[in-house]
């Protein structure tokens, strides 16, 4: 279980203001000589402090949408606005800085740097943000304490279980107190019990005011979210906040 949660600053205060707004977002890829649309005109608004699960079958465009929401991809058509900024207008340098300070990523495969300790992994985005070594060490220790790994700071990823690695990845995502945490199948590589413990941590994060957007196949994960957006063939089929979308009827 997380510890030291009450004193931790992980996100900005919750409000009804939209953190993310997608307007008729289309994302197409060129595969060979043909164009394939992974996302086909999505309209979506996510308010600050929401906990949203994006679900749907494989190939429905969940991960593509998550990449668009995280400013690591730009739409072929339409607009993605994060905190009012159109991601397509950001230069690579601006998008990188934006991701560093405003967005936290959690990946299915954890993607920790294997030769760095848990502490050093969490320090990575802090170093990029320019924190001095002493400050980033303190912040990383605080975050690892928050995710329940205060006593595993010097362990390398290979010395940690899957659940522990994902906790380190969450601590890394929270490092710069982002406005938004995006997670791609965060429990996908974990057993049921570990996955449930991780969901408790996400619930705690949400309770602490973090805006969370998950992409998941897992019904348990979707159930833990306050809002579920179901995609099908690159379109929003159902949004629990709005009911059935008209174009999927």
């Amino acid at each position: 279980m997380p510890s030291g949660k009450s004193s931790l600053s992980v996100s900005v205060s919750a409000s009804a203001e939209a953190v993310i707004r997608c307007e008729q977002v289309v994302r197409e890829y060129t595969v060979g000589e043909s164009r394939v649309a992974a996302v086909r005109g999505i309209d979506l608004a996510i308010a600050r402090g929401e906990f949203v699960a994006i679900t749907g079958p494989s190939g429905c465009g969940k991960s593509t949408l998550l990449h668009l929401l995280g400013a690591i991809d730009v739409p072929s058509q339409g607009r993605v606005l994060i905190e009012g900024r159109d991601t397509a207008t950001l230069s690579d340098r601006e998008a990188t800085a934006f991701r560093l300070r405003r967005i936290g990523f959690v990946f299915q495969r954890f993607y920790l740097m294997p030769m760095l300790s848990a502490q050093e992994n969490v320090e990575l985005p802090l170093a990029e943000a320019g924190l001095p070594p002493a400050a980033r060490r303190a912040r990383a220790a605080e975050l690892l304490g928050y995710v329940g790994l205060g006593d595993r700071r010097s362990h390398r990823p290979t010395q940690l279980s899957g659940g522990e690695q994902q906790r380190v990845a969450i601590a890394r995502a929270l490092a710069n107190a982002p406005a938004l945490v995006l997670a791609d199948e965060p429990t996908g590589e974990l057993d049921v019990a570990t996955g449930e413990r991780l969901l408790e941590l996400f619930a705690q994060l949400h309770a602490d005011g973090t805006t969370l957007v998950f992409v998941t196949h897992d019904a348990r994960v979707a159930d833990s979210a306050s809002r579920v957006v179901r995609l099908l063939d690159g379109r929003v089929q159902q949004d629990s906040a709005a009911g059935m979308m008209p174009d999927t009827a």
Partner: protein, 411 residues
């Protein structure tokens, strides 16, 4: 910025430590390339520098030898040596003149039947440096016939004859092989042991006062010398060349050669060595480049997913570029440090082998540590190794984040 570099340095180091055996082998490869490069630079510059320092050991920039010959290239001698030496010494541009006469003297009853002998003027001689014992007396005094002549010898002489300093022995000149008699003989006393610069280490040498050698060799050699070395007052090339021209114009029976000319002639003869060294050095540079490029490319290809994640969590392109370049730099640096030690060891070993060639002057070396050339070559390897990381670094920095993450998730 240093904070980020510190973390990137940590990441680069961690990446290199990820596959220790592979990294160690690459470093070893670079070390071998660096050692080869260093050795080739030491060889290419070493012979020249060694020859130069050999010629300038005592500061004499000019060699005066019999017309049309190189110093000690033949047994020819210069007659009328006193007049030539006096004329040279009279020139205010010339600081010192050291005449010498080389010959072979017999040593009846000795384990060594004959010895190469140098007749020298002790106060101006530039042929040896005394290690132990007493030098030839200065000023030169004629030694009475019943007294042994003072002599300085080298280590090889002592070893081959089994003599020690203080011993006396007989040297003879004008030996008649049929009658087994010598025209002239003298007792000599071994006073000092010295290193002779221009004589091979293994060759026994005996140095005696020039006047005594002339007397031993008889009336024909009364006023002869094999060579004279001259030092100019001003050491610059123009001054040396000016004196050389003056000697050529005023002394028609001799050839004067300057150190620079001698070095040029030697360089021409040794150009094959230099070309070989250049080619091998260039190859080793290429090998170092390819080793770093291969390893870094391999490493980047293996970590495309991780790099995409680094970019996703906020590492800028320049950060990825910097990190991968640091890997190449780290590899090159470790290899160069190892190569420096390895290169010096192999140079010493190879120098020992090459110096065993008969006929080489004792002070001559093939591999000479020339700091500037050595550091320049190793710096070149460092730059080359770092540059080798540029292409993979650029590819890593240009990793399309979303595409790579999608591929990695599928793969």
């Amino acid at each position: 910025m240093p904070l980020i570099t510190g973390m990137r340095g940590t990441l680069a180091l961690a990446t290199l430590r990820r596959h220790p055996a592979r990294t160690a082998l690459a470093i070893l490869g670079i070390a071998v390339a660096a050692a080869l490069l260093l050795d080739m630079v030491m060889l290419a510059t070493g012979m020249r520098e060694s020859f130069r320092s050999l010629l300038l050991t005592r500061g004499y920039q000019l060699r005066v030898s019999p017309k049309g010959t190189l110093p000690f290239d033949s047994e020819a001698t210069i007659d009328g040596a006193s007049a030539i030496v006096s004329a040279l010494r009279a020139n205010p541009e010339i600081l010192a003149v050291s005449p010498s006469l080389g010959t072979t003297l017999a040593m009846p009853g000795s384990a060594l039947p004959s010895v190469f002998t140098l007749g020298l003027e002790p106060d101006v001689q530039g042929d040896y440096a005394l290690d132990t014992g007493d030098d030839l007396p200065v000023p030169q005094q004629a030694t009475p016939d019943d007294q042994p002549l003072p002599a300085v010898v080298n280590r090889s002489f002592l070893l081959r004859t089994g003599r020690r300093l203080g011993d006396t022995l007989t040297v003879s000149a004008g030996l008649d092989a049929q009658l087994r008699t010598a025209a002239r003989s003298r007792r000599v006393q071994l006073r000092g042991e010295a290193r002779f610069f221009y004589v091979p280490e293994e060759t026994p040498v005996l140095a005696l006062p020039l006047a005594e050698v002339r007397r031993l060799l008889g009336p024909t050699y009364r006023d002869r010398m094999s060579l004279a070395m001259a030092g100019t007052r001003r050491g610059d090339s123009a001054a040396v060349e000016s004196v050389r021209r003056w000697i050529a114009e005023t002394q028609p029976r001799v050839t004067a050669i300057s150190t620079e000319t001698a070095i040029r002639q030697v360089e021409e003869r040794l150009s094959y060595f230099r070309q070989l060294a250049f080619v091998l050095g260039a190859i080793s540079l290429g090998i170092g480049f390819l080793l770093v490029a291969t390893l870094v490319t391999l490493s980047v290809n293996e970590r495309r997913g991780e790099i995409a994640v680094l970019r996703a969590i906020g590492t800028p392109r320049t950060g990825v570029l910097q990190q991968v370049l640091l890997e190449g730099l780290g590899l090159s640096l470790c290899g160069i440090v190892g190569g420096l030690g390895l290169g010096l060891l192999t140079a010493r070993w190879l120098n020992g082998i090459l110096r065993d060639f008969p006929g080489l002057p004792a002070a001559f070396n093939f591999f000479v540590w020339s700091p500037q050339a050595a550091w320049q070559s190793l710096l070149l390897l460092l730059v080359s190794g770092t540059a080798a990381g540029l292409l993979p670094a650029w590819r890593a920095a240009s990793t399309p984040i979303a595409h790579t993450l999608r591929e990695d998730a599928i793969g």
